[in-house]
């Protein structure tokens, strides 16, 4: 049996992490292929519903990443996002949604190495956790099959 390859979705802001991931490319730093990047203008734009949507759509892990505090292109989008994530994480933890599978990070446009690192460690951690069966089952049992 081949090794489990986790599906990772990354929700990133356009100005820092997307550019940081561009830099990873420009620097030819290799990382795991498991990640798919979705570009947002700002972390403040990222709707928490999209996170559960990603799990429901089959993601095993999620990376949410944006500009470091005080570096937001729009001044405060990341601060609003940070607070939203705090509350969302609390709710997930209370409802048994596996937040070990959600990695929040700040990756700046200069942190190409960090981006590769975040992806690789997330892939490995999620690989250890295995497929997110419980949520996949919940979200598909009444729709597929």
């Amino acid at each position: 049996m081949s090794e489990f390859e986790p599906k990772i979705v990354a929700f990133v802001c356009n100005w820092c992490t997307y550019a940081g991931a561009d830099l990873t490319g420009t620097s030819r730093i290799k990382y795991a292929t498991n990640v798919r990047i979705v570009r947002f203008p700002c972390t403040g734009r990222i709707d928490y519903m999209l996170l559960t949507k990603a799990f429901a759509s089959g993601a095993d892990g999620i990376i949410v990443s944006g500009c470091h505090p005080n570096d937001c292109h729009y001044t405060s989008g990341n601060f609003h996002a940070r607070r939203r994530w705090m509350v969302f994480k609390k709710l997930c933890d209370f409802m048994g949604i596996d937040t070990r599978r959600i990695v929040f990070s700040w990756v700046s446009a200069a942190e190409g190495v960090k981006w590769a690192d975040i992806v690789n460690t997330t892939v490995e951690e999620v690989r250890k956790l295995g497929p997110y069966e419980s949520y996949h089952k919940l979200s598909t049992q009444d729709i597929l099959a």
């Binding site: 601060f79 939203r84 509350v87 609390k90 409802m95 048994g96 949604i97 419980s134 919940l138 009444d142």
Partner: protein, 267 residues
């Protein structure tokens, strides 16, 4: 109760309000919300320990929207709801007269918003011991147990939306679940649709819920929805020192931030 009635009668008789929103005796020994428009009708007004439905809900309904001015018999939950609605631009102070009633049922007369804020701060909050115990019980569970608990707890949900309909804070003209392009929340009351619906609702109420527990009381299948809000309210209070329903001028926690918000969970 007589002082409440007297006050209501006077307000109507002096044309200070067009409508008094309160309670009357209902069927099968129940009490129920009632709308009084004449001083004579007020004879039927009651207030007792059973009048716990959060009638602030009706402030967003047509009957109250169309009244030029109204009064409301307001226990602490109703007062908090009114303040929060005001903070969210849903009700104007000049339109409403609050007949304040303490949690012990004592009438404290008319409250303007400033007095209502003071009143609200002095009244005990709604968390019951059994709610607290349930929160603690769930928090002690393992991740899988929690997930199974909630999937199971939500499974009887029939999406009648009584929780939404009876919540004063759920005043959106178009609820998220009604947005179908894209369809954010599955409408069907299957396990997944129920999970996402209740999760979304809990997030929307985070930092805004005044913890009246009405969602739980109105639920025909008795889902302990209120503890989701209780738990998040506690969290928001602890983390952001923010509490809904205490002031008519208030920015809820999720519409604000501080530089020092925790980020120990961020890599």
């Amino acid at each position: 109760m007589e002082d409440i009635k007297k006050l209501a009668r006077e307000l109507l008789a002096d044309n200070k309000v067009q409508l008094v929103l309160g309670f009357e005796n209902g069927t099968a020994n129940r009490v129920r919300p009632a709308f009084f428009t004449t001083p004579e009708a007020v004879d039927k007004l009651i207030y007792n320990e059973f009048c716990i439905q959060n009638i602030a809900l009706y402030l967003k309904k047509d009957i109250c929207q169309h009244a030029a001015s109204l009064a409301i018999t307001a226990n602490p939950n109703v007062v908090r709801s009114i303040l929060q609605l005001a903070a969210e631009n849903q009700i104007k102070e000049e339109k409403i007269k609050i007949i304040g009633i303490t949690h012990e049922g004592k009438c404290v007369g008319l409250l303007d918003f400033k007095a209502a804020e003071e009143f609200s701060k002095t009244q005990p909050k709604g968390l019951k011991d059994e709610d607290k115990a349930l929160i603690e019980k769930i928090q002690a569970m393992s991740l899988e147990e929690k997930f199974d608990y909630w999937v199971e707890a939500f499974s009887p949900c029939i999406k009648c939306y009584a929780c939404r309909a009876s919540c004063p804070m759920c005043y959106c003209g178009k609820c998220n679940v009604e947005s179908n392009n894209p369809q954010w929340i599955p409408v069907a009351p299957h396990k997944y649709g129920n999970m996402e619906w209740h999760m979304m609702r809990a997030m929307h109420l985070a930092g805004r819920c005044i913890n009246c527990g009405e969602c739980n009381r109105s639920c025909p299948v008795d889902i302990p929805l209120n503890i989701l809000s209780y738990m998040l309210s506690d969290f928001v209070l602890e983390e952001f020192e923010s509490e809904a329903g205490l002031s008519a001028v208030f920015t809820p926690a999720l519409s604000s931030y501080t530089m020092v918000d925790k980020e120990n969970f961020i890599k």
